[in-house]
Amino acid sequence: MVESLPTARARPLSPHVQVWRWHVTLVASILHRATGLGLYLGLLLVAGWALALASGAEAYSDYTGVLGSIPGKIVLAGITVCLFFHMANGVRHLVWDFGKGFKPATANVTAWGAFAFAIVAAAALWIVLALKGAL
């Protein structure tokens, strides 16, 4: 709306990325958005999966063939990490909504915890996939 008011003074801008020292909580915050956008792609892939399944065996085999290729697996692995990071960091956000967990030391630990959960849970999921012979 500022653009439509030529007489208004320039509004103050909040400090942006370049003025902050890199820190684990900053990385977690940025990655929450990035992984959320990654999950947009993930949901679209679920939509494609449902469409392929409803279109018959041939379409399904083509679709899972693309997802099962090396580039497909890399994308799916990335989406798995996105899912578990966004999930863990989302829980951090829900706790913050109750006014808890804001102490720097606590926020640092929970940020590292979200990274750890993302890696461990994604690795566990892919190990189970491999053990079940689904790769």
Binding site: M1, A50, K132
Partner: protein, 130 residues
Amino acid sequence: MAQHRTALGRARGLGSAKTGVGHFIGQRVSAVALLFLGLWGAWSAVTVASGGFDGAKAWLGSPVNAALLVLVALTGFYHVRLGTGVVIEDYIHKPTTKAALLILNTFVCLGAAAVTAICILKVAFGAGAA
């Protein structure tokens, strides 16, 4: 011109549009739902990935699986539309581009959610092509 406007007149339109609370609550309620749906979905992906076409059809033949996957699609695309909308509003400042992307975001999410739900129901009701 500017000096004839009151402080209130200048402030109007720059603050809350009185619709933010619905967005805030919707984002969080869907987040809580997706916490459970996401865990279920990740676990289900393992089952479906190892079953092939017939296995996937049989899996969706279970009403619980079909219902939960419809909920994943509806809740997921709702949540992702809200989140992506905020990202667009934050980083795209040109009003026409911003409006176009917000509308595109809504269309993609609604369209994909509808297609996903219909496809799931089609397979679940046994009408899927052989």
